[in-house]
């Protein structure tokens, strides 16, 4: 649209093939020069129809698909699916399997936050932190490869337990990794977290107040950064979390800036990585002996009914609404993902931002395309 003086508004197509849209997403950005009037996200490029596929596979053979809903949080997705089916079947999961799931989940959370923080730093111009965090992530991938054989989509949780027990020597390696982890976080913190340029790029940018966050359904680190003290692992405890204690970082409390801005999201994620390392230490100490798989009926045919099972994923609540009609294939499976609601908020946050800020907001909200489109 042109205004009185005849100046035209630039309509920029940021994506679907753009260096800083994580995955295949497109933003139609209406700007005049740098300041943005509005950014409208266009999604659907990565829609694989996983929910339709769920209606054609059996309950166990859907787990590889669950991993691919969000390949950075594979353990959480398969854990949520397994919990849903277990609640329908009424199967009791042995304690050792629960603790192994917690260890795998927290390792996966650290790996995911490595990518999240690394991408934020890289999108704001600093390439080196991304490489250091990738080095840590490689170690975690090696640990997972020893545990279950895969490096990204693990297919580790099963209905009723986990697929493999920890190989011998693996638990010590996890302990060694976690022992070193605080020093690595201290080094990352020294390199970039308090870097004046990075902090100023994120202070007061893309602020989501607590009321907006709840109204738009933000979850996980984005919600905690907005000031709402809510974490499924502590407030609706599931799996082996009741026995473990850890602190839940909330935005705007320490450090600089306002609750809900990009820097609060960075500080919350960084602190969460350290807390995950603490959780793994306690889980390693509390790992009981025993079987790794509960008793399961020969054929998994959950009774008719529906269940909503949610897990505190790395990006927040990752839940599955599973409807079963008694046959061995699910009747309907709807996945609730955090990037979906975070992406729907971009239109609210974006007016007034600059293009460089939009890049920072997308990176700190940690939205990822497969989870939005499923």
């Amino acid at each position: 649209m042109t205004d009185a003086v005849g100046r035209e508004e630039i309509v920029l197509n940021m994506g679907p093939h753009h260096p800083s849209t994580h995955g295949v997403l497109r933003f139609v950005v209406y700007t005049d020069g740098e300041i943005m009037r509005k950014a409208v996200p266009e999604v659907g490029y990565l829609h694989r129809g996983i929910e339709k596929l769920a209606e054609q596979t059996t309950y166990t053979s859907f787990i590889p698909y669950a991993d691919r809903i969000n390949y950075l949080e594979a353990v959480f997705a398969s854990q949520a699916w397994a919990m849903a089916v277990e609640r329908l079947l009424g199967v009791e999961v042995p304690k050792r399997a629960e603790v192994l799931r917690v260890i795998a989940a927290e390792l996966n959370r650290i790996a995911n936050h490595c990518i999240a923080l690394g991408c934020v730093a890289m999108d704001l111009g600093a390439y080196t932190p991304f490489i250091y965090l990738l080095r840590e992530r490689e170690t975690i991938n090696d640990l997972f490869e020893e545990l279950c054989g895969a490096r990204l989509t693990f297919n580790y949780a099963r209905v009723g337990g986990v697929s493999h027990d920890a190989p011998d020597g693996w638990l010590d390696k996890v302990g060694a990794f976690v022992a070193r982890f605080d020093k690595v976080m201290a080094e990352l913190h020294a390199l970039i977290s308090e870097n004046e340029i990075l902090v100023n790029r994120m202070l007061g940018v893309g602020v989501t107040c607590a009321a907006d966050a709840v109204a738009y359904g933000l979850v996980g680190p984005n919600l905690r950064a907005a000031g709402v003290d809510w974490d499924l692992r502590r407030d609706l405890p599931y799996s082996a979390y009741p026995g473990l204690d850890f602190a839940v970082p909330v935005g705007g409390r320490d450090g600089r800036g306002v609750a809900g801005d990009c820097y609060a999201r960075w500080v919350v994620r960084e602190e969460e990585m350290r807390q995950s390392a603490r959780l793994i230490r306690q889980a390693l100490a509390a790992l009981p002996d025993g079987p790794v798989m509960g008793e399961l009926p020969k054929k998994i045919k959950p009774p008719k009914g529906e269940v909503y099972a949610a897990v505190e994923g790395a990006r927040g609540e990752l839940g599955v609404y599973l409807v079963s009609d008694g046959s061995n294939t699910p009747y309907r499976a709807k996945w609730r993902s955090s990037s979906f609601s975070a992406m729907s908020m971009i239109e609210l946050i974006s007016p007034g931002l600059m293009i460089a800020d939009l890049v920072a907001v997308i990176a700190t909200l940690d939205t990822i395309a497969p989870e939005v489109d499923r």
């Binding site: 600093a126 913190h189 790029r201």
Partner: protein, 436 residues
């Protein structure tokens, strides 16, 4: 009149020995100028090429990876191979682009950067043109780069390129001011614009360099370094070609040899920048212990001067590369804000400081030398703190993380409270800033 010891001396010598008629003297002058221009152009092209290899090595090593090490002894010929690849690549012109402008832009950038080498003194004799207004010439000619970048941004008819071009125009022009101020302060100290005289005024030993002349020039060096990094469009000021925001900024539509023009222009700019910094602040080709005058006769001292100059220039380049792989990128409004709120006031204050200092303290007296030594001690202290911190980081995480090694050392996995995150800005930042 200073003995002119650059091309004019060379041409004069040739005309004398061969007793050329005026016409042939002009031809000889033209040939000599072209030859010297070719030599300088090739020299700086090789420096820029080696700099691309050095950047990828420094990037590799700072990121705990290896960097190019396959082509040549330690990957040293990587840039030759890259050059061949770029020549072979197809450099098409988008049909909606503004053809002539699109083709002219890289040459303007290269012209702007390489012509600055005319007055860079490699050694007491080795200088293409020892102009009396050397420093002013460099400041003027390097702003040709703005025209080239803006032209490429506009001509490629691409929204990203346009944004990149406009950003670079604002950035380079506004960072000319602090750079010019710091150069002017050094000229004030040296008393002449000619680069050879500026070096001549400084001595060989570090405390005779202008950087340690007084705390003001010490701060001024960092202002000059930062603003010339900004002029070279390098991180943390690389807004015009911000990969993560503007796809590739002004050179989005370029490919092949034209893109190589911008690429070499950028790295040659880094080299020119550190060469000028060496001349102004680090005493150029001065050999410690040898006065500037005795350089003329012996070849050895000339060679030594050249080596010292190149060494200092390469250390300057390393600092620029090192900054690229450590710092994030500023936003456009912050970029302007930092320039107007921090760099220009500091540059003015340092200039006043230097002027007052020159007024109050007579040159060469005891307090003057004391101030030099104090500034040098300040610089040395900064370096010591840096390396102590480097040692701490190197030991804390260690290098190759093989978990087996960690296991053998029997490291238990309790929570290590000693590792605390150093929170600099723990205080709240004066209430909630207005949300953007």
């Amino acid at each position: 009149m200073r003995p002119d010891n650059d091309i004019r001396a060379l041409v004069g010598y040739i005309v004398e020995t061969w007793e050329l008629s005026p016409f042939w003297a002009d031809v000889a002058a033209a040939v000599v100028i072209l030859a010297v221009a070719a030599v300088v152009f090739l020299a700086v092209m090789t420096f820029a090429g080696v700099l691309t290899w050095a950047e990828r090595r420094v990037a590799g090593r700072t990121q705990s990876r290896v960097g190019p090490n396959r082509v040549g002894p330690i990957g040293f010929l990587q840039w030759v191979v890259d050059g061949v690849k770029l020549v072979l690549k197809e450099d098409f012109v988008p049909d909606a682009a503004d053809g002539p402008l699109f083709r002219l832009a890289p040459y303007l950038v290269i012209l702007g950067v390489f012509s600055a080498m005319a007055t860079v003194p490699f050694s007491q004799v080795l200088i293409a043109a020892d102009l009396d207004v050397g420093a002013l010439f460099i400041m003027a000619i390097t702003s040709l780069v703005v025209v080239g970048v803006l032209m490429s941004g506009w001509a490629s008819n691409n929204k990203w390129a346009l944004l990149g071009g406009v950003r670079s125009a604002a950035q380079i022009v506004s960072y000319e001011v602090p750079a010019a101020l710091s150069v002017m302060t050094i000229v004030l100290l040296a008393g002449s614009l000619s680069m050879q005289t500026i070096i001549g005024q400084q001595g060989g030993w570090p405390w005779e360099w202008y950087i340690f002349h007084s705390p003001f020039t010490f701060v001024l060096f960092f202002v000059f370094l930062a603003s010339s990094i900004a002029e070279g469009n390098r991180i943390p000021f690389d807004l015009p070609e911000a990969e993560s925001e503007l796809v590739a900024g002004y050179n989005t539509e370029y490919s092949g040899m034209r893109w190589a023009g911008f690429f070499l222009g950028e790295f040659a700019n880094v080299y020119v920048m550190s060469a000028i910094a060496t001349t102004l602040f680090f005493g150029g080709w001065q050999v410690p212990g040898v006065a500037a005058e005795e350089h003329g006769d012996s070849l050895l001292i000339q060679g030594l001067g050249l080596v010292i100059f190149l060494g200092k220039a390469w250390v300057g380049c390393f600092v620029v590369l090192w900054a690229r792989w450590t710092l994030p990128r500023l936003r456009v409004d912050q970029l302007m804000g930092v320039c107007y709120r921090y760099f220009i006031p500091i540059a003015f204050a340092c200039m006043l400081g230097v002027a007052l200092y020159a007024l109050v303290v007579p040159a060469g007296s005891l307090p003057d030398v004391a101030v030099h030594l104090v500034t040098m001690a300040m610089g040395a202290a900064a370096v010591v703190v840096l390396f102590r911190r480097v040692g701490h980081h190197a030991r804390s995480v260690g290098d190759r993380i093989s978990l087996a090694e960690v296991l053998q050392r029997g490291q238990r996995f309790e929570f290590d409270p000693s590792v605390q995150l150093r929170r600099y800005g723990a205080h709240r930042r004066g209430g909630a800033r207005e949300s953007r």
